[in-house]
């Protein structure tokens, strides 16, 4: 194998799969998908340093689950090539997170108590760790696979924990060195603007951010109240961004109040990012809206957040169902008012974060669902009440939600003295002359690249999407930063970027059998009395213990968590987490298929109790146990670490059985004898070997059987029928000793199941790919069972080894040598003769109907310039399907023409 690996004329494509085969003998085009290993083979020295800090452990496939391996690993000790590989798959959480934060990574690090590393890892993606950890609407949790066990992980709260525990002591960052001369202007210091600034400054650009307000942070600062996001948390994160070298100009509106215009920015900077958010409130448009006492939530919250004095009455109605409405209501409550929320749809349709709605309800806020104001009533210029009408849900509108329609004469009044309107916001685009707006009043920008139609101007966040959420704004900022970088470097904005991540529903994650349920941890909350009267933060965060326990629930869906620990350890700089899969196109003359067999899975025969005791092993597992590189260093020990006193070996598990595979697997009698011999020799244990027939044909095998008999193995002629796991862990095997004619049992410490060989589960796909037939047992069909054992019915494709049928290593080698010889024979000729059984078209009869073109399974027929069918003789395999389809008898398969068949029919009937 080593020699094959090193031979200059042999190219090994490991971690690869053939995805397409076209052409014909001598001229195959094979397309191979090379899976990324994330490790550069030319650099990796195989030193193994990288595995040391990898926090992810999974069952080792090679050790058939007997040991664990890390996410970065060497498939097995003798692997060719000897390099390492990273097992990385998509994970639902990271895929669903709009900013694609490596969720599993920071969770794994928290689980190991490496909190500062967890914080640093999140900061590689976003600066808003403590912020998102508090206010994110966490769509990731909806998809977290752990929900299939009991409940999703508290992903968001863990992010907050990483921040809370590590940020206060983390050293402030050093300013980033400028790499590029270009400067970028950003308008708006909300999460979109600052995220773009954060990424751009780290790439080495100069960044200036303009902000109209006296504080930075956008809606995070002036929308979300302090009881949800304390001011110091946000400020610290903005300071972190500033410390990297981002310049923030407060009190500098663009395009109004004397500030610079967009034109100015386009002139003075090399690129502009507009992230102005959506701050203009939509109006109610009902009579009485101009009465004093009617406020808008954004104004109300901004004033509160900026510490200005706000006056509201005793009875407050909040109109709307979004986050802003809930925040306005909860803030009003904290100012001592009685609050009712009026929303025109039902609770299920509320766009606000459900947990926020629950919290509002807990705090004592009343809800009027399916109602909307029709007028606001006043007396002497003072508000007295609000008249509402009931609504019912009609047909769905374009947002997919059912449209509310008023119920006639269902008006009612609410006595209120303050109304806070919160029915949506739009961006204020008036100052930004020159940009394009959509019909919705939002900025026009490409949803993938964030480019606007104006050269060098990009836009993102609420200004583009309308009011959305912080993490979407972060994602938009990050996309814009990448686009601006590409724009400034003259690169294509799209090439090689991934805009569509896999859908969580399409990500397969195997949930380990026997996983124990563990309740999801919830954060403690401030006592209710304090909640209602102060703006102190409501949720109190996890304790270290809670966070560790919560982190331990993660299923490591992606295996590699992208924590980057390995990258830091690899001195050869061989690790590249950004590798993508590649396609290799090969031109080959012949193909040898040698995909091997699958080991029978004994859970399909539950009478053998496989999986219900660690001391019931398959033959393959026993092989690993006895190998020097195995989990016990080659010693035969039970799972309890003891030398077994009695061992039973059962033949024909999954073979010679109508309930599993009918065929005899041919190698298991031999390997079972080998196992019996090993057990006797290494442990001296009593061995009971249950067999139906002993198949030791051929050279040397019967002699070996004799020797094992003399070793003292107790042979029982009778099928080992079932294995029971006794309460004390001992295993009871039952059978009939058919020589005695008596039911017998044996109580042992270890059972080895002589599992047989079967076709691989993907054999049908492989067969289709290479045009192979399969025999009833599922293995690939050879062209003739006696005379052509390595050829297949597809010329130029040969079989080698157990993919064709069970056989041992010597026979596999012989078979493979034969396949190689056949392939060489073809190659040395240099030309191929194809079977003369091909079809040809009698042009004069062909009407050009094209039926044959559709019928041919090989696309061998096409209509030529004259509208007549034409057969490509190299592609045609001579099946004759076209002839049967042709209504004009114009196409004739040589040797199977209509006349020849008719002659045969008449012949046999005579």
């Amino acid at each position: 194998m080593m020699d094959a690996g090193r031979h200059p004329n042999i190219e090994l494509l490991s971690y690869s799969a053939v995805v397409d085969v076209q052409g014909y003998v001598g001229n195959f085009q094979v397309r191979v998908k090379k899976k990324p290993r994330y490790i550069d083979l030319t650099k990796c020295t195989g030193c193994g340093e990288c595995v040391k800090e990898c926090p992810v452990e999974v069952d080792s496939e090679f050790e058939v689950g007997l040991t664990k391996r890390k996410a970065i690993y060497r498939p097995f000790a003798q692997a060719i090539p000897p390099a390492f590989v990273i097992d990385k798959r998509p994970s639902p959480c990271k895929s669903t997170c709009p900013a694609h934060i490596p969720v599993q990574g920071y969770i794994a690090l928290i689980g190991q108590g490496k909190y500062d590393k967890a914080l640093a890892l999140i900061r590689e993606t976003t600066a808003f760790v403590g912020t998102l950890g508090r206010v994110c609407h966490h769509p990731c949790e909806l998809e977290c696979k752990r929900k299939d066990v009991e409940a999703p992980l508290a992903i968001c709260a863990l992010k907050r924990f990483a921040y809370d525990v590590a940020a206060p002591t983390a050293p402030p960052p050093a300013p980033v060195e400028r790499v590029y001369g270009e400067k970028v202007a950003i308008v708006g210091t909300g999460p979109a603007g600052l995220s773009a600034a954060y990424d751009l400054v780290r790439m080495g650009y100069g960044v200036t951010v303009y902000e109209a307000l006296p504080v930075a942070g956008g809606m995070l600062a002036v929308g979300i109240p302090a009881y949800r996001l304390p001011k110091d948390v946000l400020q610290q994160e903005i300071d972190y961004i500033k410390a990297l070298g981002v310049e923030i100009k407060l009190n500098t509106p663009i395009g109004r109040d004397g500030g610079p215009t967009l034109e100015d920015l386009r002139r003075d900077y090399d690129a502009v990012f507009l992230a102005v958010g959506a701050h203009r409130s939509r109006q109610l448009n009902v009579p009485g809206e101009d009465l004093p006492g009617v406020l808008h939530s954004t104004d109300f919250l901004r004033a509160l957040n900026l510490g200005q004095e706000v006056k509201i009455g005793k009875r407050v109605a909040v109109i709307g169902g979004g986050n802003a409405a809930i925040d306005a209501a909860r803030s009003a409550l904290r100012l001592g008012s009685q609050v009712t929320i009026v929303y025109r749809r039902s609770r299920a349709e509320m766009p606000a974060i459900p947990a926020e709605v629950d919290a509002a309800e807990e705090e004592g806020i009343a809800f009027h669902f399916l109602a909307t104001p029709v007028r606001i009533l006043g007396e002497n210029g003072r508000m007295t009440a609000m008249e509402c009408i009931r609504m019912e849900l009609g047909a769905p509108d374009e947002s997919g939600r059912r449209r509310p329609v008023p119920v006639p004469s269902s008006e009612f009044t609410l006595e209120v003295d303050t109304v806070i309107v919160s029915i949506g916001q739009q961006p204020d685009l008036a100052p930004l002359a020159g940009v394009e707006a959509t019909g919705w009043g939002t900025l026009t920008a490409d949803p993938d690249t964030m480019a606007t139609p104006v050269e060098g101007v990009f836009a993102g966040g609420d200004a583009v999407t309308g009011p959305a959420s912080a993490v979407w704004a972060v994602a938009a900022g990050k996309r814009a930063a990448e686009s601006i970088h590409r724009y400034l470097r003259g690169l294509d904005l799209r090439q090689g970027r991934v805009f569509e991540w896999p859908k969580a529903a399409d990500i397969q994650v195997e949930i380990p059998a026997g996983i124990e349920k563990a309740a999801r941890r919830e954060m403690a909350a401030l006592p209710m009395a304090e909640r209602k009267s102060t703006f102190k933060e409501v949720e109190l965060g996890f304790t270290e213990e809670e966070a560790r326990a919560e982190a331990a629930r993660c299923l490591s869906c992606a295996v590699c968590s992208e924590c980057q620990e390995c990258v830091k350890l690899c001195e050869a700089k061989a690790i590249d987490h950004n590798m993508r899969e590649e396609f290799v196109d090969l031109e080959v003359g012949t193909i040898i298929v040698a995909t091997g067999f699958a080991d029978f899975d004994p859970t399909r025969l539950p009478q053998y109790s496989y999986g219900r005791s660690p001391n019931i092993l398959t033959g393959m597992e026993f092989e690993r146990l006895t190998s020097a590189g195995g989990p016990t260093g080659g010693e035969i020990l039970t799972a309890e670490g003891k030398v077994p006193e009695r061992v039973a070996i059962i033949h024909c598990v999954g073979s010679r059985d109508v309930n599993a595979n009918r065929h005899c697997s041919r190698v298991c009698c031999m390997y079972a004898l080998k196992h019996a011999h090993l057990v006797r020799e290494m442990t001296g244990a009593e061995v009971y070997e249950f067999y139906m027939d002993m198949r030791t044909f051929g050279k040397g095998y019967e002699e070996f059987y004799e020797r094992v008999q003399e070793d003292g193995v107790i042979f029982v002629r009778g099928r080992g029928t079932e294995v029971r796991v006794r309460e004390d862990g001992k295993l009871v095997v039952r059978a009939e000793d058919t020589n005695l004619g008596r039911p017998v049992s044996a109580t042992v410490d270890m059972v080895i199941l002589g599992t047989g060989m079967e076709a691989r589960p993907d054999a049908d796909q492989v067969a289709r790919l290479f045009g192979l037939g399969r025999t009833a047992d599922g293995f690939f069909a050879e062209a003739h069972p006696k005379l052509r054992p390595v050829e297949t019915n597809t010329e130029g494709v040969f079989l080698a080894g157990t993919c064709q049928g069970p056989r041992d290593v010597p026979d596999t080698v012989a078979h493979a040598s034969a396949a190689a010889a056949q392939a060489l024979a073809l190659m040395s000729k240099g030309v191929v003769t194809i079977s003369p059984t091909v079809s040809h078209v009698l042009t004069r009869f062909c009407t050009g109907c094209g039926k044959c073109v559709l019928a041919c399974p090989y696309n061998a027929i096409s209509l030529n310039g004259d509208g007549k069918a034409e057969v490509n003789a190299a592609l045609c395999k001579g099946c004759g399907t076209c002839a049967a389809a042709c209504p004009s008898d114009a196409i004739v398969p040589l040797h199977f023409t209509d006349d020849q068949l008719v002659a045969q029919i008449v012949g046999v009937l005579q």
């Binding site: 049908d764 289709r768 045009g771 037939g773 399969r774 025999t775 009833a776 047992d777 069909a781 069972p785 019915n793 059984t837 019928a855 399974p857 090989y858 395999k877 001579g878 099946c879 004759g880 399907t881 002839a883 049967a884 389809a885 398969p893 199977f896 209509d898 068949l901 008719v902 045969q904 029919i905 008449v906 046999v908 009937l909």
Partner: protein, 145 residues
């Protein structure tokens, strides 16, 4: 069996890769096969056109059996998909012509299914035996070519 000693004559179209091989295996395994089966080898069951089936019936066959590879195992990938669509149409056509549709049967036999081959052929011979000889008064007239 039935006392009149009627021995049906069955034309069996066997695809080269599966059914023909199955018949071969059946022979090698010394299975008992009905002598009434008159095999005609084609490369693929997809080759069996309506014309060939009718030709066989008009030339004196009492039944026609078309055997191919199991769906998914066709040596040519999808030749037998065509056959699956064609045979029911043909059976309808036969009804129209006054021939019992059960005189035509399509089935799948892989190269390894010797027993299956023996079973299908035996069953079909018995089914056609029960239908009796195919009497086609118009046989000569219809047989124009």
């Amino acid at each position: 069996m039935s006392g009149d000693g009627f021995e049906p004559r069955i034309v069996a179209f066997l695809c080269n890769w599966c059914s023909y091989a199955g018949a071969d295996t059946a022979g090698v395994s010394r299975l008992e096969l009905p002598p009434n089966i008159l095999p005609v080898r084609v490369m693929c069951s997809g080759r069996v056109s309506a014309e060939m089936v009718l030709k066989a019936l008009l030339s004196g066959a009492d039944g026609v059996l078309v055997l191919g590879c199991h769906i998914g195992d066709c040596h040519y990938g999808s030749g037998n998909h065509r056959t699956v669509k064609r045979i029911p149409l043909l059976r309808r056509l036969m009804t129209y012509m006054g021939i019992e549709p059960d005189r035509l049967r399509l089935d799948w036999v892989s190269g390894a299914e010797a027993g299956h081959f023996a079973k299908i052929t035996t069953e079909f011979v018995e089914a056609v035996r029960a239908l009796g000889p195919l009497s086609l008064p118009l046989r000569e007239d219809l047989d124009t070519g």
